[in-house]
Structures are given as C-alpha cells and as structure tokens.
C-alpha cells in the first residue's frame, strides 16, 4: 500500500502546550482513515495543518512524496487535496449552483469542470432541485451534500472531511458514509475523516487514528479498534 499522505513529527502551536505534538501518521492511497478523539484533541488542527491553513512549528507534511512546506493554501486543490472544513463552509450568501461552480473555477479544463458539475448534480438529487436556492435556506443535510459536492467537483485524490455527521440525522449520516465507501471503491478516492461519531466512522474506515491532547495515542486498523474491547474502552469510551 502506497502512502498518499504522510505527516512527520508535526508540531503546531507554540509555547509550553502546543496544539499538536509530534504527530506521525500515514494515509494509504485508496483508503478511508478515521481520526477520532474527544473535543480539543487537535483533530481539526490536524486537518487545517494538512491543508495548509496552519503552518507547523516543526515537522512536515508530505503528499505523494512531495514536501508541502511553503505551498500556499490556494495551491492545494491543484494538487488534488480537497478540505471540507469544520462547519462545512457553505457560503450562505451564494446559491447552490454558485457554491458548486466555485469549487471548479480553478480547473483549466472547463469542459471537464462542467461534466463534473453535472455528475455532482446527478449524485445529489436534492441539490439539483435547489440549484437557485441561497445557501442559508438549506437544511443541515443539504449543506453537507453541497460541501461534499463542491469538494468533489475538483476531482480530488485526497478528501479531508471535518465532522461531516455533525448535526445530522443518523439516516443522513449513514448515507454520507455509504457514499464515501462507494467513492473509495469506484474511484480510488482517499479519505481522511475526522469524526465524533465513532461507530459511523469505524463502519466505513479502513484505519483508525485516535488522538488525545494533541498526540496520536493509537493507530490501528478499524476492525481492531471496533472489535478489541480493551482498545475501545481505553481510547474510545465505549
């Protein structure tokens, strides 16, 4: 298994209590990795560092063998990294269509961008019905679809998802997880998924990483984390 993304001794934040401390992780291509842990563990900070919104104080991020030091945030989509941030980041003042098109504006191949837009509408039928709706009129589930669709328009290799299930009904969460599984199987998409909903995350993930207080405390395949009672009790609280 080739590592698409690797973080080496990542330290973010300064002073006596950095937010991330010496984080090492690898994400295999074509896999779904779940990042789990309590609030404040540093999961969101990790994603923001991987996509370049935060600069590490020490350590580095390597994407497909290339060191990402100095790469601007705007460049990350061009390298195939899509980050759906905490809170989804739907631009509420813009319409569904404008949000989606925004995700594809960087592409030089306009024809393929249009094709991708049609594919996303095909994938998320509720969005197709609400093309002209402004973002603030969408429900939580629709916003998640919009954020995901917008990320997928760029045809990314790596998808960073921050708490997609937040505020969503179990049925909708299951749909999203199922979609991730399908994308991984059909297109080889690699997913790094931060989740509070441990069961949902582990139901689709291949690997699980558990964080606490800015450090990685466990890194095992999902089956082990699911089935090993001791591990579950120790790190996941159930």
């Amino acid at each position: 298994m080739t590592a698409l993304l690797a973080a080496e001794q990542l330290t973010v934040g300064y002073g006596a209590a950095p937010v991330l401390h010496d984080v090492d992780l690898t994400v295999a291509a074509g896999s779904i990795t779940a990042v789990l842990g309590a609030n404040g563990a540093g999961k969101t900070t990790l994603l923001r560092t991987l996509s370049g919104l935060l600069r590490p104080a020490a350590g580095r991020v390597v994407l497909d063998g290339q060191d990402l030091r100095g790469v601007k945030v705007e460049q990350m989509v061009r390298r195939g990294v899509a980050h759906v941030p905490e809170g989804r980041g739907v631009v509420t003042e813009l319409t569904v269509d404008e949000n989606l098109r925004l995700g594809g504006l960087w592409r030089r191949d306009r024809a393929d961008a249009r094709r991708a837009l049609d594919e996303v509408y095909g994938l998320f039928e509720p969005l197709a019905r609400r093309r002209r709706f402004p973002g603030h009129q969408l429900s939580g589930g629709e916003r998640q679809m919009l954020a995901l669709g917008r990320a997928l328009i760029g045809r990314p290799r790596l998808l960073l998802l921050d708490e997609p299930s937040l505020g969503l009904a179990p049925r909708v969460t299951a749909q999203i997880m199922g979609l991730l599984r399908t994308l991984r199987d059909d297109t080889g998409l690699t997913v790094l998924l931060v989740e509070q909903n441990v069961r949902s995350a582990l139901s689709v993930a291949d690997t699980g990483i558990v964080m606490a207080l800015g450090r990685v405390v466990a890194n095992a395949d999902a089956a082990t984390l699911r089935d090993d009672e001791e591990m579950r009790h120790a790190y996941l609280g159930f």
């Binding site: 919104l53 945030v73 705007e74 980050h83 941030p85 925004l102």
Partner: protein
C-alpha cells in the same frame, strides 16, 4: 413647479455621482470591512493627473481615461502596499491608516500643484435644455447619468455573471473557505480595491466640473455626502448605495434650491445623524438595527 422639476433633475444628476462614489465605498466595505476614508483623496489625485494630461495633450478624453486607469492602479497599489498590512483586530486600524493616506495624498498634491483652485472643465455644455419652457438637464448632466448607469450595470454583470465576480464575492464572504477551493483571495482583494478606486476616480471626474475647481480638498464634502449615501442605503448593500446616492443628491438639490446653497451641507449632516440614530444598518440592510 418649474423650479421643482429643475431641482429634481439636477438632484438626480448629482445623486448619480454620489451613487457611484458610494458604490466604491460599499465595494471595499463588503470585501474588507474597511471604510476607505481615503477614497476622496485618491479620486482627487487621479483627477489632477487626468487634467494635467488633458492640458498637455489637448484631449479631455485622454485625460479622463488616464484618471480612471490611474484609479485602477492607485487602488491596487494602495491595497498591496498599505492596506494589506492593516491589523484586523480593531475596525479603527483601517480607518486611521486611511486617514494617514489622506494626509499624505493631500500633502503631496499640495506640494506638486499648490493649493489654489484650478479650473476643471466639463467635456460637455452645462447649459440646461429647456423642454416646454422648463429647464431640465444639460448635456453634461446626461453624460453623467449615462456614464453612471453604464458603470452600475457593468459592475452588476461583473459580480453576478462572471467567474471573476463569483471569486470576488466568495473571497469577501468566506476568505478561508475560498482559499481551500483554490481562489486567490489576496488577488481578489487587490482587484476589488482597484475597481473601487477606478469607480471613485470616475465619479471624481464627473463631479469636479460642478464644484469650485480642482483643489486637494475638493472631494472632502463629496466624500462625506457619499458616505452618508452609503450609510443611508446600508454599507452592505450595493442597491442601497445607488438609492442612497440619489436620495442625498435630491436632498442637497432641494435644500440648495429652496433654502440656499450654504445650508445644504448642514442638511447632509442632519440626514447622517438621523439615519445613524434611527436605522444605522441603512434602509436596505438585510438585518434590522445592527449593533454598529
């Protein structure tokens, strides 16, 4: 009645200029949450350059074009070199820096050109046409009106129907998310400032022929009137800026016409006070009374 009609048309013509200027202010406010207090000074500076070019070449239109392009350049440079580095922790920072710019621009203009009033000729006749015995608009008024309408339409199309406009709006509403989607947010900011300054310069060239002349402080009152117009319409609203501009223009025209020209500035001040006390978010804001 004749007088009323004349004053109305005159007010709309002036109002068009305030509308354009207010639009420039709203543009920058929406993108950066900064009120560009230097907008008037920047417009005067480009007008000086424009009129110098006109005088040197004999062509008004060349000077006009240079003024507008100068605005584009000045706006971009101001954003890149100065405003980019303003700390966003307090809204006062942008205000104070812009005021520093006002001092610098007015000082430099005074040093180069002096503080006497210079003539600012209009490209068209300012004599009013009479229709049915009533004096209405002059050729120059029509030119002003037409130009502002074209500019407003162009800006509207740019922002709502082009990819660049989409990028600019997204950069203003959600800069971090836009970056994640590959938008060059910094570049969009520069472009926004450039466009706003160009619109301001255009408005300046349209209004200066109707003022006492070219002078480093010539746009101070226009700025205050346009700021009032923007506040009346709501700093967040482009439509509000246009409506506010027309309202202020009409107000100034009626007060000047019926009560005397020297009282007119006081009317603007009163309007500003009334709107800030009553409906600080403006007439067209989405939210009602926002905590200013």
């Amino acid at each position: 009645m004749d007088r009323f009609v004349f004053l109305t048309f005159d007010g709309l013509s002036r109002g068009a200029v305030y509308a354009a200027f207010a639009l420039a202010l709203v543009l920058i406010w929406r993108a950066t949450r900064i009120v560009n207090f230097a907008q008037g000074a920047m417009a005067v500076a480009t007008a000086y350059v424009g009129y110098s070019v006109s005088a040197a070449t004999g062509s008004y239109w060349l000077g006009f074009a240079v003024a507008v392009l100068g605005g584009l350049l000045l706006g971009a440079v101001t954003e890149r070199v100065v405003m980019r580095f303003v700390d966003h922790s307090s809204p006062l920072n942008g205000v104070v820096v812009a005021l520093g710019l006002v001092l610098v621009i007015q000082g430099v203009l005074g040093m180069i050109y002096g503080n006497e009033f210079r003539p600012a000729e209009a490209p068209f006749s300012r004599d009013a046409f009479t229709v049915g015995g009533i004096a209405l608009l002059s050729r120059f008024d029509l030119f002003v009106f037409g130009t502002v309408c074209v500019v407003v339409v162009l800006l509207a199309v740019l922002f709502t129907r082009t990819p660049v406009g989409l990028r600019m709006r997204a950069s203003a509403f959600a800069p971090d998310v836009s970056r994640l989607l590959g938008v060059n947010v910094g570049g969009m900011l520069t472009l926004g400032w450039a466009l706003a300054a160009a619109v301001g310069s255009l408005a300046g060239m349209l209004v200066l022929p109707t003022e006492l002349g070219l002078h480093p402080n010539a746009m101070d009152i226009v700025f205050v009137s346009s700021f009032t117009a923007a506040v009346v319409g709501g700093l967040d609203s482009a439509i509000g800026a246009v409506a506010g501009g027309l309202i202020v223009g009409l107000l100034l025209s009626y007060v000047s016409g019926y009560l005397g020209a020297t009282v007119a500035p006081i009317a603007v001040l009163l309007l500003l006070v009334v709107i800030l006390l009553g409906r600080p978010g403006g007439l067209f804001s989405r939210s009602a009374a926002r905590a200013v």
